[in-house]
Each structure stands twice: as C-alpha cells, then as structure tokens.
Point group: C2
C-alpha cells in the first residue's frame, strides 16, 4: 500500500468517488443536495475514513468492502459539524476556511441538510452489497450507538454545558471521549470487525482508539494556542474567545504536550499487542501527534 | 382484538411501556434524556405506531414482533416535530397544547434531542431481539429511505420553499406525500413486510397508505379552518397566519371535503384488494376521515 502520505491521498480520492457514486443519481430537491454536498466536499482530512480503511487493511486487503461504511461515517461526521456550527450551538461563520453551511445557505436548510446526512448514512450501510446482513446490523448498531445519545450527541450536550464554566481535566476528557472519541472508536472498531479481528484484538484496538482520540483532541487544543490561522482555516484562539476549557488552559502548554505524547506512546503500545499489520496505524499516531493544522 | 377504540388505547399503552423499557436504563446526560422524553411523552395520537400495528395484525397476531419498529418510527416522527418547530423552521411556541421543545429547554438542546431521537431509532431496530438480521436490514433501509433526503426531509425543504408562494394543488400534494405520506407509507409497509404480506399485497397496501396519507393531510387542513382551538392544542387558522397553501384555500372547503372522501374510498378499495384481515384498517380510514383534532 506504500506510505501514509499515499494512503491519505488515496483515501481522499476514494471518498470523492464515493460521494459521486452515492449522490449523482440521488433524485432529491436541488437545494438540499447542494447543501449536503457543500459540506461533504468542503474536504477536510477525511481522518475518520482514513482510520477505518487503515484499520481494515491491518487484517484484510479487500478495501472496497468498507467503502460504504467509511462514507456513512463521513456523512455522520459532516452532519455533526453542520449542526455544531449553527447559531444556537457554536455560532461559527467559517469552517475550514469556507462559510459554514447556514451562512452559505440558511439555518433551516442547514438543519435539514444535517438531518438528511445523518439519516442517509444508515441507508448507505443497509444497501451496501459488500456486507452480509449480520455485518450490516452489527455496523449499524455500533454507528448509532457511538454517534447517538450515549456517544457523540452526549458529548455535544456536555460540551455546551461546560461553556463559561470551570471544569477539571477529568470532565474535559469525558467531553472529548464522547464528542470526538466515539466516532474515532467507531472508525477503528468497524474496520477491525469487518476485517475479521479477534475479540482480543478488538479490545486492544479500542484502547488504541481511546488514546488516539485524546491525543488528537489535545493537539487540536494546542494548535488553537500556537497554530497558524491560515493553516487552521479558522482563527487561532477561537476556543479562548468562546471561553472554552482546553488542555493548555487547564494544564499549561508544556504539560499538555507531555500528556499528548503519553497518549501517543500508549496508543502504539496497544497496536503492538494486536500483532496485526499495524504499521500504517502507527504512522497515523505520529502524523496526528505532529500535525500543524 | 376488539374495536378500534380499544386498539388505539392499547397502542398508547404499548408505546408508553416501550419508552419506559428503552429509556429507563439509558445512561445519558440528564438534560438530553429529559428533552427527548419531554417530546416523546407529549403524547399525541400515536397514529403511525397504530397504523403499523394494525397493518401487522392483518397478517399475524404476534404483535410484540413489531414493538421496537413502532417505537423507532415514533422516535423519528418526534424528532421531525422538534426540528420543525425550531425558530429557523416553523417557529412554533406550542405543540399539542404544551411548550415546544426549544421553548421548554433551549434551541441547542432541542436540536440535539432531535438528532439523538433520530439516531437512536436505528439503534432500537438493530438491537431488536424479535427480528432476523435480514428483516432488520430491510426495515432500516425502508425507514432511512422514507424519512431521509428522498422522503420526509425532502418534503420539509419543499414545504419551506412553498411558504409565501402561490403553488398549485399538484405541488401541494407532492409536499404532503413526502412530508407526512412517507412515514405513513413506512408504517404500513413495515407492518406488512414483517407480517409476511405477499408482493401483490404490499403494492395494494402502498396504494392504501398513499390515499390514507392524503386524506389525513386534507383533514388536517380542514381542521385548521373549522377546528376548535382547544381540541387542536394549537390555534386554528395558524396555517393561514404562516401564509401556507392548504387544500381549502386552493380548492374551497367543500371541494376539499369531497377530495378527502374520495381518498377514503380509494384507500378502502385498496384494502379490499389485499383480501387480508383489514377490518381495523378500514375503521382507521373512517376514524381519520371524521376526526376533529
């Protein structure tokens, strides 16, 4: 498969193809379709599909088996960004350097585009020709659990509750484990399940996903302090403006960096325990740890 | 099973029990849970679960096989009401005589409660012990299709587009077929599929659902003109205020009533063709046709 950079590029190409396959023939009101595709195609790094594909290929090479699942995951992630940016939530005008969905369209359209992306993600999995019915049910159960009221949505409500409040680092960790960690867990577990991982390997990979998710979020917080506006596609310091608790704020910048590195080490240790072909996943740990946007 | 009135009462009891079963043990942030249950328990007539159960029992008596599907359907319907009432959408303060979700809580909570209900509906079906994996996949596919961008969400975006515009009766019909008709179609088709209906029976029942959905909506519009505020739980004439197109406005009250009765006749005719035990469904046609709230 080659290096991580090739795999990242390949994942982006696969996702673009998948959006084309699943949306070009979709006969729906044009404004709805435009709004859905606007945010899907705003790009981003496709980190969740990347993780899913990279975990799958640690066990099996028939990558096209997980294309629909990876697409569904990116639809869910995109819906969550659209709703998160709404005036009633984080009230953001820009995302990845582009107008947010409700600014490019309007609030009603953004709410409905999010609802449509969320709902359609389950349609994609249910209608995937590469998976058995048992696999589909297991993946749908996992996706609805990690993205629903026990998972990502719980994280979002706790995140809102924490605004303008003093919280400690344990509460901050809980928010991130739910808000971003659950979908990262889904990416890794779905890839492993469909790739045929054993129960023990699944446990180690869940630990990997847990630490990877936290290091990702800590780095996000660090970049908000030291990052470059242009690379970030949003203003550095915007968390500060919202009076949000962050790791650098609670721990100091150096301690936050040390904690991030600890999570990276533990994530790699969990990978080694699986004895699977996890070279690419190890590179992803380093990539997340060193990213600058 | 007895008369329709008993069946309606029984459906309401079943739904309350199901909400209790699925939510009492659900360990999620309390404000999220309260907001989800607030709108679920605002009651309403449970028309969609009623239709699903009534269609199922035209073919099979083991009703508990469809309890989770009926619950998932009511979760989806409830999420759609919460999002539809938001300030950016219909901006309603009251629903069924109670404060709407964003008025009882706040906008962010209402958006997330809707997202959570939508997502959790798929979790319920995926984790239903009464259905086979094949049945679950078929039901999830149908639910995501009828409630997603090709179905209900398409209807909502067309409905918003039509505000303050002159549309004709064909456009009005298209909006209603999508916005309310698709979930009614799901109720009927899911009941029939899980009950073991043949392909021909499914076709006739889809026609039944189509006409039943339209008669339901026309009667809704009629009640908005001639209804009693107290029984409706909202102000009669509120569609007029929003400058929405309605059947009485486009056709006149008498012609709207005649059209409603025509749909009732065609719905019953479709039922008879199935040669199944559809007595209860016929009573539902009369009940919808004569309802006063």
């Amino acid at each position: 498969m080659g290096t991580l950079q090739q795999f990242i590029k390949q994942t982006q190409i696969i996702m673009d193809e998948q959006f084309n396959i699943h949306f070009s023939g979709l006969n729906i009101p044009s404004r709805l379709k435009k709004a859905m595709l606007y945010s899907l195609e705003a790009g981003g790094k496709r980190i969740r599909p990347l993780l899913l594909l990279a975990t799958y290929q640690a066990f099996d090479s028939e990558l096209e088996r997980v294309f629909s699942t990876a697409t569904a995951l990116e639809l869910i992630h995109t819906y969550s960004l659209i709703h998160d940016d709404l005036p009633a939530m984080d009230d953001d005008d820009y995302r990845r350097g582009k107008l947010t969905n409700h600014k490019a369209f309007d609030e009603a359209t953004a709410i409905l585009a999010g609802d449509a992306l969320l709902t359609h993600s389950f349609y994609l999995i249910a209608n995937d020709n590469h998976l058995t019915a048992d696999e589909k049910v297991r993946i749908i159960s996992l996706l609805s659990e990690t993205s629903g009221p026990k998972g990502m949505v719980a994280g979002q409500i706790l995140d809102i509750d924490a605004e303008n409040k003093t919280i400690d680092v344990n509460q901050l960790e809980k928010i991130h484990v739910l808000k971003t960690g659950e979908l990262i867990k889904f990416a890794v577990k779905a890839g492993a399940i469909l790739g045929g991982a054993t129960e023990n390997q699944l446990k180690d990979l869940e630990s990997f996903a847990y630490h990877l998710g936290l290091l990702f979020q800590i780095q996000d917080d660090i970049l908000d302090v030291i990052g470059d506006d242009k690379k970030l596609g949003k203003a550095a310091g915007s968390d500060e403006d919202l009076n949000k608790s962050t790791y650098p704020k609670l721990l100091g910048l150096e301690a936050a960096m040390a904690l991030r590195n600890e999570h990276a080490d533990t994530a790699k240790e969990s990978l080694r325990k699986t004895k699977a072909n996890t070279k690419l996943l190890e590179e992803i740990v380093d990539y997340f740890n060193a990213r600058d946007h």
